[in-house]
Amino acid sequence: MHFLSHINIFDGLEDQELSQILALGKESRLKPQEYIFKEYGPGDRFYILKEGQIEITVHNPVNPPPIVLATLAPTEVFGEFCLFDDAPRSATAKATQPSLILEILKKDVFALFQKETRIGMVILQNLGTVLCKRLRNTDKNLRNHLLWSELNTPLP
């Protein structure tokens, strides 16, 4: 059983295809408190957490402590939106424990997608599905917030 077969963005790929992706990866060890990337930094690669724990945070414009968005466990993927666009990182990723990550460069992934279009299609479909779910959730939360604040705003 392939290590990558547990990862949802690779759902539907065969072992031989997973091996081609794995071959692109480079492992790095991280110490606790070590940053992997920072919000607004360039996004040219994505990561798979193999061991340890990663915290995803965003800058808090009002108060100093950053806002924690997620705490990632092994087999979770992060920084993957760079496969869709060239926008800067939308959050910061930092190890909170000794960790082992696999990093894969976007340019290498796209070179593979050009040769193996099925791999590209499957991964982009999986990623898109994740994105859609997040967009639907965020939109719903946002709408509820706006309504809530509207209801609680005293009339002039």
Binding site: G120, G128, L142
Partner: protein, 152 residues
């Protein structure tokens, strides 16, 4: 010059590929005041606006019967595109504000095409993903500001 050439989500496809998508398209006319998409209904197609004006809106959960306008879409805009990725119900309604001509592309047919021509699938899905990413980033930012404003 292909008509689908001007549609953002098909950027990078060649004329033959665009024609194969065009063959799937069903032209439809929506009169002013008619709904093209209803919130919470199953989404089986995406739509490309050729001409007209469509308003995207959602039900106001606090004041039943009222709606909240989200966006106005015009020629060359695409709607219902989230249905390509998932089977969730429509997240919003789309109401024609003027007589509107659209091309309806059934999701099942589009996927059949992608299965035959993976490159087309890859290019289109990447374009779609990029537009969804952009929407997600701005919604995330807005939500964060909202949360801060409310004191979390």
């Amino acid at each position: 010059m292909h008509i689908l050439n001007q549609i953002k989500i098909f950027k990078g496809l060649d004329d033959d590929e665009l024609s194969s998508i065009y063959h799937l398209a069903i032209p439809k006319r929506i009169e002013t005041g008619q709904y093209l998409i209803r919130e919470d209904q199953r989404g089986n197609s995406l739509f490309i606006i050729l001409e007209g004006l469509v308003e995207v809106l959602v039900e106001n959960p606090v004041k039943p019967g009222e709606t909240i306008p989200l966006a106005k879409l015009r020629a060359h805009d695409v709607l219902g595109e989230l249905s390509i990725f998932d089977d969730s119900p429509r997240s919003a309604s789309a109401l024609a504000r003027s007589a509107t001509d659209v091309l309806e592309i059934p999701k099942v047919e589009l996927w059949k095409l992608f299965e035959k021509n993976n490159r087309m699938g890859m290019v289109t899905l990447r374009n779609l993903g990029a537009t969804i990413c952009e929407r997600l980033r701005s919604a995330d930012m807005e939500l964060r500001n909202c949360n801060l404003w409310l004191g979390m």
